[in-house]
């Protein structure tokens, strides 16, 4: 059935549609996961960064992380005060809709352009994430109870790092996989699967 579809003329359109659809996965799964491990937390403390929200294993995880962070003078992580969580969802929806329009166009260039925009947006997103991590890790209250000269608390973008007693592990989560799929499907749609004229 699927192979039938693939040999048809419209296989590149189909993959372009799939790429657009994949973006909806960002609303179903978190993009990134930051895990904090310490002796007193046998199950770890897990924070999930979504396209539109920040969550934890329980509704109170964020509060618990903030309580820990206040000892080192870190600002409270308040999802409401992070504007990206409000407009990134729209960017994703617009990209997805654009992708559908592109799928019905006949210009290969549009397929490529959509892919490049998505890639740029992805890189910008990661850079933005890095900036927030930098801000939380460096912009510390001068009145913090625990002040260790030279110590900053920026979690890694990828991989693990000891932050005092906590081992912080930062890794992409399922949402990023969907983003990856979107890029791969888009790439296939204008390369291997593009119908040679």
């Amino acid at each position: 059935m699927i192979s039938n579809l693939l040999v048809k003329e419209n296989r590149s359109r189909l993959f372009m549609l799939l790429a657009s659809l994949m973006l909806m996965g960002l609303f179903l799964f978190p993009l990134w996961k930051i895990r904090l491990e310490a002796a007193q937390y046998p199950n770890g403390v897990n924070m999930y960064i979504w396209i539109n929200k920040i969550t934890g294993d329980t509704p109170s995880t964020l509060q618990n992380i903030n309580i820990l962070n206040h000892y080192i003078g870190m600002q409270y992580i308040k999802p409401d005060s992070i504007p990206e969580l409000k407009y990134f969802p729209f960017v994703v929806i617009i990209m997805s809709l654009l992708g559908i329009v592109v799928a019905f166009s006949k210009k290969r260039k549009l397929f490529i352009t959509w892919g490049i925009i998505l890639l740029v947006l992805g890189i910008l997103g990661i850079y933005d994430f890095y900036l927030w991590e930098y801000d939380y890790g460096h912009n510390l209250s001068p009145n913090a109870p625990i002040k260790i000269p030279g110590m900053v608390y920026q979690p890694p973008l990828l991989g693990s790092k000891m932050l005092l007693n906590f081992n912080a592990i930062s890794l992409p989560h399922t949402g990023s996989l969907f983003l990856g799929f979107a890029m791969v499907f888009n790439f296939l749609s204008f390369t291997l699967l593009w119908k040679k004229k």
Binding site: T58, P59, S60, N64, I67
Partner: protein, 656 residues
């Protein structure tokens, strides 16, 4: 050839020596290195690993319940039930004081004897644990998701609630029989008029689907001492058996007076018949006055209400409701085997155990095979009901439990031992000493339809030389035996809280998955809670000052309070805003004539403080909650009665 034969002989000789040495060692309670190592590995639970069973032990005269792990014998928690507990503020904070209310007012102590797990289909289900209060007759229910006392029900028309709270196989009822008969209703009569005026009562407590208890009905019975009970199971479901002593109805020097008759009775109550009589309107309503106390885990508060009447059944008016089974020598425990057929009477002044047959009992009832009648209660012919007896066993049998493999285990107080015997053949299979004077014993699920088996715990009243001495007052103890083999094997001695009167145990996995980690703040319905630090405030109404306070690592809000005056009554309503596992905060203020409070995450508790002298008084967190726990402190200023210092409060207002 000759040489190798000699080698063989030498080898056999050495092996025989080792084997006999090991044999000797095991007889002497395994003092040998091999034996001890083997035993140690059986009770060793590696750090960070879990025990296989929860054991709930009564505290006896401590009034509480203690929670141990088996096989390690490690103590996890003492649950305050009938006695105040300053550590946990039970009976000290405003929220839990109503739990200890009775028709006689606030009572800070009782004697807790028999923990009883709720059952479904005759097997412990891990929802609730019930326990009786002996002195001021009460029954308590402990919620096994929070391990806290959720309810206490006073039993009217009772004196000494000892034969309690034995449960029916689907937790329909638990029972509460009077150990001490009293005038019912209470009245001022001569003690010598015992035979004429004193009555016993057997109460049936209905357990609702949510666990809530109510006195469904009471049966007024002759003035004996109703000592212990067990409900039937399987074929005998629908019946309860109570032992009696003092059928002599003596009112003094009972050690002589109540030991004269050769046989006392086991009372067999057909509670399904009782339900029919109630439905038919046969019950009388008697005025009464008894407390029903419930703790709400959402408001974190207890309330006490007084109930004013009780339904009573009189045996003379209800034929078929109750029968007496003659049983030798002041029987103590009455235990029903897993099949429900055998009813074991542990005649405490005897050396033999008497076992009755349920089916023979039904037949005798059908044939009107009665010897006598007491106040409308037929006494069944002994020979027609007895199934057999376990002979020359020991001295002073008290209690029996079962392993589900056809064996029974009975404790002997006087000869200080546990005896294993076979159901049906009544032959004694094994006996081990206990150190010393064992009362109850416990096998996980051992009084249920399907015992979990594996271990036996004997609960000893006397320890003498078993542990390091601690002055004249010594601990009582529990002894753990392995019962998986043919012979019982002693594994471990461990000390207990108060008197480990009786215990019940259940596989850990039934309970641990339901254990609450913290209370949800958004489900907190306490009338004086706050849900964030912004709501912290101090309110005065006349001389009542309410401090709406929060705690979170590592500070209180407010932590500076001024404007309180001598003569005020200050209520500290402390809400723990934490929403994480194992982050309690405590609170104590200098000079409070009460205990600390210890507040779990999401919970609100109240400490009342009546300052007596002007000054500035510190308060602080009593639970080492966090890295800056020592900094978790504050001050409250007290001014003279007529001072004009205005009420104000703050947290984190640093000087410029």
């Amino acid at each position: 050839m000759e040489k190798s034969k000699f080698k063989w002989l030498a080898y056999l000789f050495i092996m025989g020596f080792i084997v006999s040495a090991c044999g000797d060692n095991s007889k002497q309670q395994s003092k040998g290195a091999f034996g001890d190592q083997d035993v140690a590995s059986q009770v060793y639970v590696s750090p960070g690993e879990y025990d296989e069973f929860y054991a709930f032990m009564s505290g006896g005269f401590s009034g509480q319940v203690s929670v141990y792990g088996l096989p390690s014998g490690r103590l996890f928690k003492v649950i305050p039930v009938f006695s105040v507990d300053a550590e946990k503020a039970y009976g000290f904070n405003e929220e839990t004081k109503p739990m200890l209310n009775t028709s006689l007012g606030f009572i800070p102590w009782d004697d807790s004897h028999h923990p009883e797990l709720s059952q479904t289909n005759g097997v412990p289900d891990g929802r609730w644990l019930f326990i009786n209060g002996n002195n001021t007759p009460r029954v308590a229910r402990i919620d096994l998701t929070t391990f806290e006392t959720a309810e206490i029900l006073e039993i009217p028309n009772s004196g000494g609630n000892h034969s309690s709270p034995f449960i029916t196989e689907n937790s329909e009822y638990l029972v509460a029989g009077t150990r001490f008969s009293v005038p019912i209703p209470q009245k001022d009569v001569s003690i010598k008029s015992y035979k004429e005026n004193f009555k016993g009562s057997l109460s049936y407590i209905k357990i609702a689907d949510d666990g809530e208890m109510s006195v469904a009905f009471q049966i007024l019975v002759p003035g004996y001492d109703y000592d212990l009970a067990h409900s039937g199971k399987g074929k005998s479901h629908g019946w309860t058996f109570f032992t009696t002593y003092n059928t002599e109805e003596s009112n003094t020097l009972l050690e002589i007076g109540a030991s004269q008759r050769d046989k006392d009775y086991i009372a067999a109550v057909n509670w399904k018949k009782a339900e029919e009589y109630i439905a038919a309107g046969k019950a009388k309503t008697m005025p009464a006055n008894y407390a029903h106390n419930t703790y709400d885990e959402h408001s974190h508060m207890a309330k006490s209400e007084m109930l004013k009447e009780v339904k009573v059944l009189i045996p003379q008016e209800c034929p078929g409701l109750i029968y007496y089974l003659p049983t030798p020598k002041s029987p103590h425990g009455v235990d029903v085997d897993p099949s429900g057929e055998y009813i074991v009477g542990n005649g405490k002044l005897s050396s033999d155990l008497t076992v009755h047959s349920f089916s023979k009992m039904l037949k005798a009832i059908e044939n009107d095979d009665f010897d006598d009648e007491v106040d409308g209660i037929p006494v069944i012919n002994f020979e027609s009901v007895v199934a057999g007896s376990v002979k020359s066993t020991g001295l002073g049998p008290l209690h029996t439990e079962f392993d589900g493999k056809g064996n029974a285990y009975t404790t002997f107080f006087i000869s200080s031992e546990v005896i294993k015997w076979k159901i049906g053949t009544w032959e004694v299979l094994d006996r081990v000493p206990s150190y010393y004077s064992v009362g109850h014993l416990m096998i996980p699920g051992g009084d249920s339809k399907a015992p979990f088996g594996k271990y036996l715990v004997s609960l000893n009243k006397i320890t003498k030389d078993r542990f390091l001495p601690t002055g004249p007052e010594l601990t009582q103890s529990a002894q753990l035996f392995d019962i998986t083999g043919d012979k019982m094997k002693l594994l471990l001695d461990f000390p207990t809280i108060g008197e480990p009167h009786y215990a019940q145990a259940i596989p850990a996995d039934i309970i641990m998955k339901n254990s609450v980690k913290y209370y949800k703040l958004d489900e907190n319905k306490h009338p004086h809670k706050i849900t964030s630090e912004d709501e912290a405030k101090v309110v005065r109404k006349g001389n009542v000052v309410r401090v709406y306070m929060s705690s979170i690592r590592s500070h209180f809000a407010p932590d500076n309070i001024e404007g309180v005056k001598v003569g005020d009554k200050v209520y500290f309503h402390l809400t723990n805003l934490e929403q994480d596992w194992d982050v309690p905060h405590g609170f104590a203020v200098m000079g409070a004539r009460t205990s600390e409070i210890l507040v779990m995450p999401g919970q609100t508790e109240t400490l009342v403080w009546e300052p007596q002298n002007p000054g500035v008084y510190p308060f602080y967190c009593t639970d080492f909650c966090s890295a800056l726990h020592q900094e978790m402190q504050g001050y409250i200023r007290v001014s003279p009665k007529n001072s004009k210092v205005e009420l104000k409060w703050s947290v984190g207002e640093f000087d410029e």
